[in-house]
């Protein structure tokens, strides 16, 4: 794994906008950053990222089996008791999942370590799948990287295939939804709608604020069309607690991601996995705050709210002293403490985190986010990667 400085394409903004990538610059700061790229060997990708990602997914599935039978675990994960049966039924029914992203610490040496699992509402998908792919093609064509380079990125093909297989019979009608006023979320959902259309589905978008409830208990879109299958880029923990939460169980709607993802999209997972498999090479020691075993953690550790996104409310501590933190509104449901990773890739004052993508639970893509601080935030820059020939 190397960080290779490159000169950006002179017309890079035009090139990424040509693809429909609208949020390459966020609040005046560069988000899509092609002034460098990460180079991997095929062995690093397959042995250290692809293999462990699928192994961690299997470990998560084993955890779900246990968690759904344990009121104590569901309570610690702050899943409201009135939704336990709803979550259990979605797992027992075998509701299929579309995608997720494991965030990993990895510097090319030793095993990758799981920082967290964005199992429910991951973004950075379009830039991983399409913009990065197009960058690779052009970088090889202009000789910036060796001809014959490759990329760990079959996201686009896998998403289209997965959409076709999420529900029987296919093609089916799929609604997609996200919040208003978030160009990044809307861009992600528009891309997924595009994949769904290519899978032959009847894909329709509606904002989540527009969703309605029909008298027969089904949800409907802004035009009152009943919703049978809904991709929602909106977290389960919020849906459970909002006024339509009580309507979920009677809605006869197949949700993507399925309700059982609520068990994984929760930083309590990190403590639960460590308890299940202490010493697992791809896990960092982690405990719920207040657990006496927190005393066994390294002096340098991280405090994370159970529900937190984009690095919000995450604190890096060294012997009780705060080294880095990000403000935010999360934390009411509790925290986990996790050893700080010692294999975070750093170079010239920048820290990089790997996002390892799963589609239908198969590892199939990689993205890298870089930041001047060790906590990856929503302002972190996205850098492309390639596999050296």
């Amino acid at each position: 794994m190397r960080r290779v400085a490159l000169s950006p394409r002179p017309d890079w903004t035009e090139q990424v906008e040509r693809l429909g990538f609208a949020f390459h610059t966020i609040d005046g700061e560069t988000y899509w950053d092609e002034s460098a790229a990460f180079a991997f060997t095929l062995e690093e990708i397959e042995r250290d990222i692809e293999g462990p990602t699928e192994a961690l997914e299997q470990l998560c599935f084993a955890f779900i089996e246990k968690a759904l039978d344990s009121e104590e675990t569901l309570t610690r994960l702050a899943i409201p008791a009135e939704h336990w049966d709803y979550v259990r039924e979605s797992w027992q029914r075998g509701d299929r999942n579309l995608y997720g992203r494991l965030d990993l610490a990895y510097d090319g040496h030793g095993p990758a370590k799981l920082l967290e699992y964005n199992a429910d509402t991951p973004t950075a998908l379009f830039e991983s799948s399409v913009v990065q792919w197009d960058w690779l093609e052009q970088a090889m064509a202009r000789g910036a990287i060796p001809k014959g380079s490759d990329q760990f990125n079959s996201l686009h093909e896998r998403l289209i295939a997965a959409f076709g297989a999420l529900r029987e019979p296919s093609p089916y009608r799929l609604h997609l939804t996200c919040v208003q006023d978030s160009p990044e979320d809307k861009g992600t959902v528009d891309y997924l709608a595009d994949c769904a259309v290519q899978a032959g589905l009847d894909a329709r978008f509606t904002y989540i604020e527009e969703l309605g409830l029909l008298t027969d208990g089904r949800f409907c879109d802004g035009a009152n069309q009943p919703i049978e299958t809904l991709f929602k880029l909106y977290p389960w923990e919020w849906m459970f607690r909002e006024s339509y939460g009580s309507a979920l169980a009677g809605s006869r709607c197949q949700f993507i991601e399925p309700p059982w993802k609520a068990v994984l999209s929760n930083k309590g997972l990190l403590a639960c996995l460590w308890e299940m498999e202490p010493g697992h090479p791809n896990l960092l020691p982690a405990f719920f705050e207040g657990d006496p075993r927190c005393a066994t953690l390294s002096a340098r550790h991280v405090r994370k709210p159970l529900y937190s996104r984009e690095g919000a409310n995450v604190t890096l501590l060294e012997r009780g002293r705060v080294l880095d933190s990000d403000d935010g509104p999360y934390g009411a449901e509790g925290h986990v403490l996790q050893d700080a990773a010692t294999n975070l890739f750093s170079s010239e004052g920048n820290y990089a985190v790997l996002g390892s993508w799963l589609v239908a639970s198969q590892a199939c893509g990689l993205c890298l986010r870089e930041d001047a601080s060790p906590i990856t935030k929503n302002t972190s820059r996205f850098l492309p990667h390639y596999i050296e020939p």
Partner: protein, 206 residues
């Protein structure tokens, strides 16, 4: 190979609000279609400045290129009741089809062509009494003025338009349709999701 063998071109249209295709062929083109300047601003794909430029281009092109009629009834025969407005062009008074929207081509070349004005569908596309939903939509909500915002906001997810060159096009809107029920089940409530996102004004994704 660890990467996709190709990225389907449909992905190029991912942030576009509308897919436009010719009524006479299956060739799809990716375009941006807005029914009004405020829709363009609200959609957020273009900057306010780009919207204003596009709207100004379309307005000017309509006056220059739209079919001109000596009487309102002659215009309305083509473009439907209240589908026309009067315009003073070169000192003379004409009736021309209303501005129903404007379209920006966003081809693969990346070149952004000048915005085109869109007008109500012609009688040839949407004859009186047509049962096509987009025709009924367009006819029933023609505003007759330069605003044309009445084309937006019905239950139909597609709208028919015509161009100054006489081409008929249909835009499929991927979002924003409200109201108008096509369902036999009535809606008992709306807006039961989204409150936490509002209260956090934070990220619902990661």
């Amino acid at each position: 190979m660890k990467r996709s063998s190709q990225i389907g071109l449909a992905a190029v249209g991912v942030i576009l609000v509308a897919t436009v295709w010719s009524m006479t062929s299956d060739d799809k083109e990716e375009n941006l279609v807005y029914n009004s300047l405020s829709d363009c601003r609200a959609a957020g794909q273009l900057t306010a400045q780009q919207c204003e430029t596009a709207f100004a281009e379309a307005t000017a092109a309509r006056l220059k290129d739209a079919p001109k009629f000596q009487s309102q009834s002659a215009c309305e025969t083509q473009y439907g009741a209240s589908g026309c407005s009067s315009a003073s062009i070169g000192g003379a008074q004409y009736f021309i089809p209303a501005l129903a929207g404007f379209m920006l081509a966003r081809g693969l070349s990346g070149a952004q062509a000048q915005a085109q004005p869109l007008m109500p569908p012609t009688a040839a596309t949407c004859p009186p009494g047509s049962t096509l939903p987009e025709c009924q939509q367009a006819r029933s909500s023609s505003s007759g003025s330069s605003g044309g915002s009445g084309y937006y906001g019905g239950s139909s997810r597609s709208r028919a338009y015509s161009t100054t060159s006489g081409r008929s096009i249909t835009a499929a809107f991927s979002s924003g349709s409200r109201g108008g029920s096509a369902s036999t089940t009535s809606t008992s409530s709306r807006g039961g999701f989204g409150s936490i996102a509002r209260s956090f004004s934070s990220h619902s994704s990661s």
